[in-house]
Amino acid sequence: MLNHPPAVFSNNRWQTEWIGFLTLFHKEVARFVRVAAQTLFSPLINALLYLIVFGLSFSALLKTQQGFTYLEFLIPGLAAMAALNNSLQNSSSSVMVSKFHGDLQDIRLIPLSSTAIAAAYTLASIFRGVIVGMLVLILGEFVFYFKTGNSIQILHPGELFVFLILGGAIFGNLGTWTGFICKTFDQIHAVTNFVVLPLIYLGGVFFSIKIFHPVVQQISAFNPLLYLINGIRWSILGVSDIPIGFCLSLSLVFVAISCVIAWYSVRFGSYQRF
């Protein structure tokens, strides 16, 4: 061991970078799997409550949305919300908890590029987001079957995965950004409560955006969630408030912007313990 040459001389740059990236991705996935009750199953309870309270109980009182019963309309929205919210939480809580434990500094010491680090956090966030989104969708199918005896047909399964992945990337990147800029848990809760929650409620999870006041509709045009939720709802039900090509294009733009933000926060953000 004592005469073992440093790794720099035994691996080429890209191989080292690739192994480092895979290791960090593996660690990030292992982290949320280790606490699956909190990270995978708790969002299901949340979704189930929404389905029972809004989907089942209020369904009869609420108008149909875009030709679908309220429960049918709600299920894709909840799946989208759960996927995006969990993608955000995965990277933000990983970075914050690492700051708390003091091991985030390890990331600063290792010879892994900021691009690889940001990409590993994002990919793990996408992974969790897609799993949680699909679990909520399956739960929704059960509830729908229980209520109607029918199941919801997923019209565009390939596109569903594309939108879940794009959404996971955007919100995973935003989670990385919040993790690196926030210095306390209070700050991260503030981001969740004052930024993410309004985006969710004004992004078309529970209602079609067309029922909102025109001013709110205009503001919502800047909300990336709107395009992702509509993309996911279109993939499942075939309806969207916004043309699907526009949803896809804007989502790609948001992915590009969020990637730059995540890279910048990894490169220049705070690694200090608190």
Partner: protein, 314 residues
């Protein structure tokens, strides 16, 4: 990377931390060079700037001015990160992962796949085998410290930075740690140590830098520092001789002397020989029946330098 390149070269380093009204200086115009294979100590009281220097070398803090190179590579560059291993001062918990998992992840971050042999060897050397499957967060402070040492050595760094590694750890760990570090040093690893335990630095390090408030007070071989700055106490037993009264002898190396019967106690600077002591006090050798000396240590030199530094800044 030439073998003649300095292991660590710091030139005019300035580190400051933002605070109200500007930057608070932590390190001011520091320059020093550490050769490959050296065992070097960075000494100083709290707030001297030791951890700031270590953090700047590893890229954990940004510095405002100056240059740091590690075996010729800029500090915190990809190459430098491969060459440096850091044992930080503060203990780390690592959430839900076991010791072995953390060591595997850390190996992977350095691009090393299947590093279990190296991990097993380090676990063995640091007596962590029994704890390999335990969560790091459940370990005691001393065991966490060992995990940090193992993590720092996984990629076989050429320079090992030990930031207060023995702070708050028991004698057993210190023995394990120092034996291991000495062995690494013998095999060619450059060691940079910051410590509050000056006897450790005196025992282990060939050279030392003494810092205070971010300024370099002294940089020399440990032995020379002691010789030039520490005090030496000489006890003489004389036969039929009285030394001259204190007011009659003036020499900057002679700090104190007194006679009580046949016994004379003399305090001189560390570089003064016994022969010189006898000359200064005009004591003929035939009147000396016994000589006993108490050598000054690094702590003595350290305190003297700090006092000098305070006096200078006052």
């Amino acid at each position: 990377m030439s073998e003649n390149t300095s292991a660590l070269l710091i030139e005019n380093l300035c580190i400051g931390y933002p605070q109200k009204g500007g930057l608070k200086t932590a390190v001011d115009q520091l320059s020093l060079e550490i050769k490959p294979g050296e065992f070097f100590a960075l000494l100083g009281p709290n707030g001297a700037g030791k951890t700031s220097i270590i953090s700047a070398i590893t890229g954990l803090v940004n510095f405002q001015a100056g240059k740091i190179s590690v075996f010729g590579f800029p500090a915190a560059s990809r190459e430098a990160k491969f060459l440096v291993g850091l044992v930080p001062q503060e203990l780390v918990s690592h959430g839900f992962f076991s010791v072995n998992e953390i060591l595997q992840f850390t190996s992977g971050y350095y691009g090393i796949r299947n590093n279990q042999k190296q991990i097993d060897e380090l676990l063995e050397r640091l007596q962590l085998v029994a704890y390999r499957d335990k969560q790091v967060s459940h370990l005691s402070g001393g065991l966490k410290r060992r995990v940090l040492i193992a993590k720092a050595l996984l990629h076989s760094p050429r320079i090992l930075l030990l930031d207060e590694p023995s702070a708050g750890v028991d004698v057993e760990l210190r023995t394990i740690l120092w034996n291991f570090v000495r062995e690494l040093n013998s095999a060619g690893t450059t060691i940079v140590l910051t410590t509050h335990y000056l006897e450790e630095a005196q025992r282990l390090c060939r050279r030392a830098a003494i810092l205070d408030k971010g300024t370099l007070l002294a940089l020399d071989e440990t032995g020379s520092l002691i010789a030039s700055m520490a005090e030496r106490v000489v006890h003489l037993t004389l036969r039929n001789f009285r030394v001259p009264p204190t007011g009659k002898i003036h020499n900057p190396d002679l700090l104190f002397f007194s006679q009580d019967g046949d016994h004379v106690k003399v305090i001189v600077t560390g570089s003064v020989s016994i022969n010189k002591v006898l000359q200064l006090l005009h004591i003929p050798l035939e009147n000396v029946t016994d000589i006993r000396t108490e050598e000054g240590d690094l702590e003595n030199a350290f305190l003297k330098l700090l006092k000098k530094g305070i006096a200078k800044s006052a």
